[in-house]
C-alpha cells in the first residue's frame, strides 16, 4: 500500500517537474551574466577556455570552497576509518587475503601508469587553453595511482601505506595552501582576494593567462592527492573486518 502511494506521489511529482520545465526558456537562456563573461573573459583573464575563467577567476571562491569540501570529506573518511591503523598489530593479515596478480596485468600497468600520468598533467597544464583542467587532470592522476594498487596489491606493506599517507597529506596540504597563498598575495598587495595578477601573455600559448595556470596546477595536485588518499583509505580496510 505504501509503495502504491509512493508511486502516486512520484508520478505527481514528475508531472509537476514537466510543467515547471515547460515554463523554462529552453534553448534561449536569458544569459544576464553569461553573455558579459563570454564577451569580456578573453581580455579580462587571457584564457581561451572561457569555462576556466569562470572556475578560477569570476567564481574562484566557489572553487576554493569545493577544494575545502573534498578535503573535508577526505579528513572525515580518515578520521572514521583510522581506528584500524591504530590497532594494526598483526602485519600478516595483509598477505593472506591477497593473491598475486598475473604477468599480463603487471605489464599492462607498467605501460599504462606513465601514460596516465602524462595525460593527467597535460590536461592540467592546458586547462586554460583546451577542455579539461585541474579537476579532470587530478582525477586522471588519482586513477593512475589507484590502478597501481589494484594491480599490485600484495606489494603494499603497512609501512609503505603509512609513508604513502604521509606524502599524500603533505601534497594535499601544500597544494591547498598554494592556492590560498596566490589569492592572499593579491589581497596583501592591495587587490581583491584571488585577483589574477602577472601579465596575460600571448593568447593561446602555454605561458599565458597570468596566475590561472598556477591555480589550476594547485587544484590538480590537490584533487589528485585527495582522491588518492580517499581511495587508499577505503582500500585499506581489512576485508576480514567486514565478514563474520
Amino acid at each position: 500500500m505504501s509503495k502504491f502511494s509512493t508511486l502516486i506521489f512520484i508520478s505527481g511529482l514528475s508531472f509537476l517537474l514537466i510543467v515547471i520545465t515547460a515554463q523554462l526558456p529552453i534553448a534561449h537562456p536569458p544569459m544576464l551574466i553569461g553573455q558579459y563573461i563570454i564577451d569580456h573573459a578573453v581580455q579580462d583573464t587571457g584564457v581561451t577556455n572561457i569555462v576556466t575563467s569562470v572556475v578560477l577567476a569570476y567564481r574562484g571562491l566557489d572553487t576554493l570552497g569545493e577544494l575545502a569540501i573534498l578535503f573535508t570529506a577526505a579528513s572525515g573518511v580518515g578520521l572514521l576509518l583510522s581506528n584500524k591503523l591504530n590497532t594494526k598489530l598483526q602485519p600478516s593479515t595483509k598477505t593472506v587475503r591477497l593473491s598475486n596478480s598475473n604477468f599480463i596485468i603487471e605489464h599492462a600497468l607498467n605501460l599504462l601508469f606513465p601514460l596516465l600520468l602524462v595525460v593527467g598533467f597535460y590536461v592540467i597544464f592546458h586547462g586554460h587553453l583546451t577542455p579539461g583542467g585541474g579537476f579532470q587532470g587530478g582525477v586522471i592522476i588519482a586513477s593512475a595511482f589507484f590502478l597501481n594498487i589494484l594491480a599490485k596489491p600484495y606489494k603494499s606493506s603497512d609501512s609503505e601505506i603509512e609513508s604513502t599517507h604521509n606524502n599524500l597529506t603533505i601534497i594535499e596540504s601544500l597544494s591547498g595552501v598554494t592556492f590560498i597563498a596566490i589569492g592572499l598575495y593579491a589581497l596583501i598587495s592591495g587587490h581583491d582576494f584571488l585577483e589574477p595578477f602577472l601579465s596575460h601573455g600571448q593568447l593561446g600559448s602555454l605561458w599565458s593567462a597570468g596566475t590561472l595556470p598556477f591555480l589550476y596546477i594547485a587544484v590538480g595536485l590537490k584533487v589528485g592527492a585527495e582522491l588518492s588518499s580517499l581511495l587508499i583509505t577505503l582500500y585499506d580496510i581489512d576485508s576480514e573486518e567486514l565478514t563474520d
Binding site: 577556455n49 569545493e66 569540501i69 573534498l70 572514521l80
Partner: protein, 165 residues
C-alpha cells in the same frame, strides 16, 4: 513515414531529450530513496538523484545551435559566434566534485555502520539506533561517561545468552 520523421525532428530536439533525461534521473533517484531499504542502494539512489540535478543545472546554459565556450584558432569572427553559457558549466563542475566528496564520506559511514550493526537494512538499523540512543540517555551523559561500549548493548547481550540456552 517521412511525415513521422519530420514530426520527430521538429519536436524531439536535443534539449527536449536531455530535459526528459534529467527529469527521469531525478524521479528514479527520489523513488529509490523512498522505496529502497538497503543503505548502499539508498546511497546509489542519492547519486542518481544528484546527477539528475546536475544535468538540469548544466542544461540551463544550453543555447540553440550554441558551441562550447572555447576559442580555437579556426574561428574568425568572435562576435558572430553563438556560445553556450559558460557559468552553468563551471557550476556543475563544482557540484559534481561536491557530490564525490559526500559519496566517499557516506561509504565510510556505511562501513562503520556495518561493523557495528552487521546489517545493511535501513529499518533494522533505525530500530537498533533508537534502542542505542535510549540506552545512552539511561546512563550518564556522553562527555563524562567512561564505560566501554558493551554496557549499552544490554539487550543484545541478553538475547545472545538466551540463544545459548
Amino acid at each position: 513515414m517521412t511525415h513521422f520523421a519530420n514530426y520527430l525532428t521538429t519536436y524531439l530536439t536535443t534539449e527536449i531529450i536531455l530535459y526528459t533525461g534529467a527529469i527521469g534521473l531525478l524521479v528514479i533517484g527520489l523513488l529509490g530513496l523512498l522505496v529502497l531499504k538497503n543503505i548502499f542502494r539508498l546511497l546509489l539512489s542519492l547519486v542518481i538523484f544528484e546527477s539528475g540535478a546536475n544535468l538540469f543545472l548544466v542544461l540551463s546554459g544550453f543555447r540553440a545551435n550554441g558551441i562550447a565556450p572555447i576559442l580555437t584558432s579556426t574561428q574568425e569572427n568572435m562576435s558572430q559566434l553563438v556560445m553556450n553559457d559558460p557559468v552553468p558549466q563551471a557550476l556543475v563542475l563544482t557540484a559534481i566534485v561536491i557530490g564525490v566528496g559526500i559519496q566517499a564520506l557516506a561509504l565510510s559511514l556505511i562501513i562503520k555502520i556495518y561493523q557495528r550493526y552487521r546489517t545493511l537494512d535501513m529499518n533494522e538499523i533505525h530500530r537498533k539506533l533508537e534502542q542505542d540512543i535510549a540506552g545512552i540517555s539511561q546512563s550518564t551523559p556522553l562527555a563524562s561517561q567512561e564505560q566501554p561500549l558493551y554496557l549499552y548493548q544490554k539487550n543484545s547481550l541478553v538475547q545472545n545468552n538466551e540463544g545459548e540456552k
